[in-house]
Amino acid sequence: MARNAGKNFALVSIAVDAQGAEAARPWVETAGATFTTVVDRENRLASLYDYKLIPNGIFLDEAGIVRYAKIGGFNVDHAADIDAIQRLIDGGATQVEAKSRAAPYQLGATERELVETRLRLGAEFFRRGARDEAIAEWRHALRLDPENLTIRKQVWMARYPERFHPTIDFAWQTGQLQREREEELAAGICGPDGCPLPGAGAA
């Protein structure tokens, strides 16, 4: 996006990662990034912006108003995504609707608060090197918010680091997701079409 230099435009990357800046840094350096990167190690923004998966692109105008939001599958190498952003930067459009994957359910206020608390506790345990305790907290959060892939991947990264370093095993992730979904279905936590949580509408 170098062609946008001098256009009163800022790119901020938000690394969703309990491992913190250390995990994000190599990726940012590989990209030769000149933008600002912040790290959301407690996964706070997933609740605040209500997303359950990444990567996402959210465009704000000069007043901080949301003018575009693509939740899941946002990719700066995809023509449709980059065209939308470019039109917003150049002023050819003031607002653009993107196709996002709809959230399968909405958490109630109490559940949301519980999830946030568990995520915060998990991140703190993880920071202190208490991996098992961190995983236990994250699993509690996942039980309340079973479609939240950002939580599920956090658990996987802590529990199965060999699947993420030195390379990320996406085929394993696909299989693991299916295995866990089957277990959850058997345990009555989550069906293939969503999760009938108390206080939250089923999909």
């Binding site: 435009f9 790119l11 690394a15 990567p55 692109g57 465009f59 949301v66 939740i71 909405q106």
Partner: protein, 46 residues
Amino acid sequence: MAIELTSGMRLGEPAPEWTLPTIEGGQLSLHALRGQKTLLFFWGSW
């Protein structure tokens, strides 16, 4: 026209405020970006 996306964020409405640590060890608040168009790109190394 506000189009409902999620409970926490809608097109045409202000983005929820946050402050997070930067990778360089500083802090960044969303409101500090006011006055310029901004793309927030959410990603993970996984």
